[in-house]
Symmetry: C2
Subunit: 481 residues, 2 copies
């Protein structure tokens, strides 16, 4: 596409300054993949708009030159959500990162999509408010990316996922119109298109502005660490806590493998011989959380806890959360490569899926450690391997596939919060009937008639866009991983 390239480049140079445009291969390589490192595809051009108007012009240009385009935030997607399938133009939104308004009285903020998640909460410090969804990657991931994948996080057990906190979005449609859905009051009239947009993984357009709900800071926290001999005891305790009508702000499980890695990294004092550790947090009024804490300790003990510790100071609480949020970093100590899976089962099926994961380890000879949002039934088995060993790679793909298929069999599904992306696109046929997939495809076409905006995400894009390409380039490293 050399001639087109030179033409489109000239046009792009009239929209972007030189430092907001990348075409050199050695710079483009940074954008060849995201947190899902298994599949790679370089975009042909990366642009860094600073205004919505630039995004409009870019999208119109892509349509004129019949090029695919894909939005990208920080690139922390774990499912290849920002992979430039088919090449084309990547619209990187990290330079649109302003907070445009904070309205404490009506409890919303207006932000640009490239704002890093935690920066919003940091800006709210002292106001008594925060932004509730807190993905583990919140120190890096952008709010635009959170909108695309409907991100969760440890505190979404009580506070809900991104869609519960997004009141409106402004976006550039795949055909180049600037459209607003919702606003400070949310989407009250007509179809809930804001709700539909959140989680559409870039297939409905490029977000340029977001109205988010602000959440009041809780008056008090109580954070506990329940230490159990076995994973099964820990999951029974979870059912006991939720069954007692307590909704913890967070309820996270870590198994022995991950606890070992965390202890090596952070020296928190985790017991290395315990089968599982539960990180449990309640929030609310002081008296209420004291009562809930007492009840939770009782329930943990009833279900065979060896010990229940408390994080009694803010510093201890912060360290505990640092451990949990940086768990994935600590895994680097366990193996050269790892693949984080993301499955969901009804909470009552947690013991069953965890048993299955143990079996899977044995069957495939792959080590798997677990850290996950137990309260939601959202598992994150982490498959450890060495990517230089082709045999191990194959086994990891097969083991991940087996675990996800088991999730479906147990009435669950293949992603809780990481999205379908390109990674799990082949599972859609297993999850949905042909009629269901047709409805989804029709809806995508209503927004994205040519399929050139984020092609081959969530749903296959007909004919187009070189996914075959990727599979051909990397035999044996496919979507299931």
């Amino acid at each position: 596409m050399a001639i087109v390239a030179s033409e489109i480049l000239t046009r792009l140079h009239s929209i972007y300054s030189a430092e907001d445009l990348i075409v050199n291969e050695d710079e483009l390589i940074v954008y060849e993949c995201d947190g899902y490192v298994v599949e790679k595809k370089m975009p042909e051009i990366v642009v860094f708009p600073t205004t919505a108007e630039q995004v409009v012009e870019t999208v119109r240009l892509c349509n004129e030159f019949d090029l695919p385009f894909v939005p990208r935030g920080a690139g922390t997607s774990l499912s290849g959500g920002t992979l430039a399938v088919g090449g084309g133009v990547m619209i990187c939104l990290t330079r649109m990162r302003q907070i445009l308004e904070i309205n404490e009285r009506d409890r919303y903020a207006i932000v640009e999509p490239g704002l890093v998640n935690v920066h919003l909460t940091q800006n709210l410090k002292g106001s008594g408010f925060h932004y509730a969804p807190d993905p583990s990657s919140q120190g890096a991931c952008t709010l635009g990316g959170n909108v695309a994948t409907n991100s969760g996080g440890p505190h979404t057990l009580k506070y809900g996922v991104t869609v519960n906190h997004v009141l409106g979005v402004e976006f550039v449609s795949p055909t180049g119109e600037l459209i607003q859905l919702g606003g400070p009051l949310g989407e009250l009239n007509g179809y809930d298109l804001t709700g539909l947009f959140v989680g559409s993984e870039g297939t409905f357009g490029v977000v340029t502005k977001i109205w988010v709900r602000l959440t009041r800071d809780p008056a008090a926290y109580r954070t506990m660490l329940g230490i159990f001999e076995t994973v099964s005891d820990a999951t029974e305790a979870i059912s006991g806590i939720i069954g007692a009508g307590i909704i913890p702000a967070a309820l996270e499980m870590m198994d022995q493998g991950i606890v070992g890695a965390l202890e090596d990294a952070f020296h928190f004092g985790f017991p290395l011989d315990a089968g599982a550790v539960l990180l449990i947090e309640v929030d609310g009024l002081d008296v209420a959380v004291d009562l809930e804490k007492q009840k939770i300790i009782e329930l943990c003990n009833q279900h065979g806890a060896r010990e229940v510790r408390s994080a009694d100071t803010p510093a201890e609480r912060q360290l505990l959360w640092k451990c949990r949020k940086q768990a994935f970093g600590a895994i680097g100590r366990l193996a050269p490569s790892y693949c984080t899976q993301d499955g969901v089962v009804p909470r009552t099926k947690l013991p069953e899926i965890l048993d299955f994961i143990i079996q899977t380890q044995k069957e495939f000879g792959i080590r798997i450690v677990n850290v996950f949002h137990a309260g939601d039934g959202n598992i994150h088995p982490i498959l450890l391997f060495d990517e230089r060993d082709a045999d191990q790679v194959k086994k990891v793909i097969a083991a991940g596939d087996a675990i996800l298929s088991k999730c479906i069999e147990l009435g669950g599904s293949v992603t809780g919060e990481h999205g379908i992306g390109v990674e799990k696109i082949n599972f859609m046929d297993k999850l949905f009937t042909a009629d269901d997939v047709n409805v989804m495809t029709d809806i995508r076409s209503a927004f994205n008639p040519k399929g050139n905006c984020s092609p081959h995400k969530i749903l296959p894009t007909a004919g187009a866009c070189g996914m075959e390409h990727i599979e051909r380039d990397k035999p044996g490293r496919q979507a299931a991983m």
Copy 2:
């Protein structure tokens, strides 16, 4: 359409028994309107399916004979959501009212669409669970209708509206396919079409099964009645309560006019000379609600409350809620006819819109009383008139229009929970840009390509279906009322 009618009737008789099919005009007249009594249109045929298969066959038949069709539950819509615009077949779902499953462990129930809202909660009595959304009409309205309009209710301030409690729907698409969206775990993968479906006012198809979330009963309630000299003091108290970080389970305001009518009807002991009464409920753990109650009383007093009473026994609480939920019935004592409006403003704009309503009363010489979900900024001014007086009818229409336009001006919108229906369809152009409306129309077409399913609801249906008809029949009584 006599010939077609005789053909289609024969075919319908092969699907339905005689008692599940209405064609006589004196029986059809019952279905000529819903709670929005201003516009009327008789369906040509009403059917009462008892199975999803019957719905599929009916929809296919309507497509074959090119007839419009519209689903209906209990007909409590306040916006003409079930009006048979263009005649055709009405699919009345009140005989599909079974509870198919209650799963307390995984906290969901599966119900048929014709189940009356309160019957689900009654069935759950003693289990420790209930179904949270509680529209004022909950003793009559159906869950299918709640899904169609995304119904709210007093307790949605804390617990959210219908969409937050619907995990999945099975529906017959406008082209006659039986489709399932979501399920016991909700819609985890792909687009959130369940969320999109809720609130689509019948334009995406006919619901045949619903998966709903069960909510744990709170451990304790505290219910208070704050009595204020003026509406403005009451609204300031509301801002104070919410600003203090308390989220009441319900926060309802009633003005002097409505309090008088309620007192006449129920003899609760409401003070007849107070400017406004706030009904405030908190729920949660005993100690927590005691603290919140104390704080709320303080805040009410700080904002000039004359008195704050408590409903101290379950019987008192129940009577208070009965008063609130039957407020609309009590209005019959005030005037021969009334029109309940439904607007939304940012909560901080409540004093402004209430002042405007007082002005509007004076300007148009129409009495208006107010009862509404103050915590949400969702107003329900009730315009009193005599429908036999054409001049009053005109004034009511104009006054309602003025109030809704003011809501838009204040950054709000024209419906909080009653839906657009046919009533407010002309406001869509004021609320949305042409591009926004185009996106909505495209989305509707993806589900409803011919526009024959619930025509002329939410969005105008091109050319078709005799809405002009209705306007011609009733000059001067139009959509704004």
